[in-house]
């Protein structure tokens, strides 16, 4: 067993370093990223039906941003806070995947 030692990785638990192998699933894990409130993302894959806003437009909280269809259900994404639309990344008819950034927002500097 000692002869052909596998290549161990360093693995840190409570500041102690251990030499060990990784599992496939561990290698597949996704790094966590903080949620950016300015990104409007699709929470399910689907098709864009309507876009209600344009870049540069001021939008009040609760107004409609985008309508898309997923698994025969139509969903309208609303403006989460009063602010400005910075970018619209999709067009009507686009197929979007889950978690894709559809619209970028900018918070109003007031308050």
């Amino acid at each position: 067993m000692e002869e052909n030692k596998p290549k161990y990785e360093v693995f840190i638990v409570n500041t102690a370093q251990y030499y060990t192998l990784h599992t496939k699933k561990y290698g597949m894990r996704k790094k966590w990223q903080p949620v950016d409130q300015n990104e409007v993302r699709s929470f399910i894959p689907g098709t864009i039906l309507e876009i209600y806003v344009k870049p540069g437009q001021d939008v009040a909280a609760g107004e409609n941003l985008i309508k898309y269809e997923a698994m025969k259900m139509q969903t309208i994404l609303e403006m989460p806070f009063t602010g400005k639309v910075k970018e619209v990344n999709v067009e009507v008819g686009d197929k979007v995947s889950k978690g894709q950034v559809l619209i970028l927002l900018e918070e109003e500097p007031v308050e």
């Binding site: 067993m1 638990v13 409570n14 251990y18 060990t20 496939k24 997923a70």
Partner: protein, 514 residues
Amino acid sequence: MSLKRNILDLRRRKKEAQQGGGEAAIGKQVAMGKKTARERIKAILDENSFHEYDLFVEHTGKDFDMEKKVLHGDGVIIGTGTMYSQPVCIYAQDFTVAGGSLGLMHARKITKIMDHALKMRVPIIGINDSGGARIQEGVNSLAGYGEIFYRNTEASGVIPQLSVILGPCAGGAVYSPALTDFVFVVENISKMFITGPGVIKTVLGEEISMEELGGALVHSEITGNAHFYALSEDECFEQIKKLISFIPWNNTQKALRFPTQAPTFPVSIEDIVPSDPHYPYDIRDIIKAVSDSSDFFEIMELFARNIVIGFGRIAGNTVGFVANQPMYLAGVLDCDSSDKAARFIRYCDAFNIPIVTLEDMPGYLPGVDQEHAGVIRHGAKLLYAYSEATVPKVTVIIRKAYGGGYIAMNSRHLGADFVYAWPTAEIAVMGPEGAANIVFRKEIDEAENPAEMRKQKIQEYKDKFANPFVAASKGYIDEVIEPLETRARLIHSLEISENKVDKRPAKKHGIPPF
């Protein structure tokens, strides 16, 4: 004279029905590298022991021109036979008959043999090879699945239930195997998923092959749905036979006893473990070094490899081993490993199999993904399973037993009957590195040479706490033993526990953190 005619008629009818889907369909099955349902049953059971029932059952479909179709045996073969000369019940879906699709009578046959198995208190083996629900029979197919699931649940913990996936097993069909004790899969042949690649592509636009979505390796390595992975059907049948040799026929019996055999592992148990707790080794070598004939039958080998579970024998009796594996992820506990071990512990407890725990782990796997995946509730399953188990429970602490993991790995506090520690054991609230940073923070920060001071303090902590003697002084462990004494101690502990009685308060059932 007339009797002879009747007998010949019966033979002709049997022969016809036993053809299943006919030559062309059988040819297709073979071309896919698959055996026929009948061949599979014969390969698993003792020679010439199979007795079939319901060969002449016909389907009841009336819609979509189904009434004109003859489906021999309605696409499933059921029967009884023996393994190691002991009775078992078995069914095998026949893909050559209407794709092994499940209609009302097909399901009735399966539930009939399941009812038999439960009543007779013998194991049931189900071979799945089916395109899914028979759409033409509509809600009757759904009813059939539901009735199978109900029986799976009823039989759970009473008789062993084995599922062998030798073909597609999709949609609702997957839940019967998921409810059973052990799932066997074979490379390139087994496919399990709720929603197939076709639907995923149309709805979600994600393209993936059947193998990548729900092939044998995916379920063995990633999802943890499968317990045994084989490269061929023959290898799979050998695994089934081997598993059956380790488990009792029902929950009132004990597993078959074999003559005691000495371990044959070539390396001395003293030479397996590096003394530096930061370096890995294969915990299975320790298991082999203490097991009869060094024969260890691992379960879920590829899933959550940071914990090892499986069966071996000690002095001729089956034991379930649960062991941290320093070789993978340093042997930490995480969502998957807790889940894997907890279910196995409950299996052992249900079927009167003593549990031997070998401990060497530095704690829980750190990370946002683990916390968000629910390591709290998954980790709690392990505490629950150990605490709940009333079978003999023996723990040997090999090296690291830190923090919550020390408690979780069948500590005295969760009801272990015997806890031993090697002199290399470090039973402490955390590893010396982490602990020194907290306990001696001030000294380290204020030192002229903090790195040197830290090193010194780590050693100080190590000498004081990272050993088995603090726990031994409180009686939390029963004895510090030399590695070479391990097998003898295990044999003795299990002998002593042979008639263990451990009564718990009466209840309908607990509410484990599923």
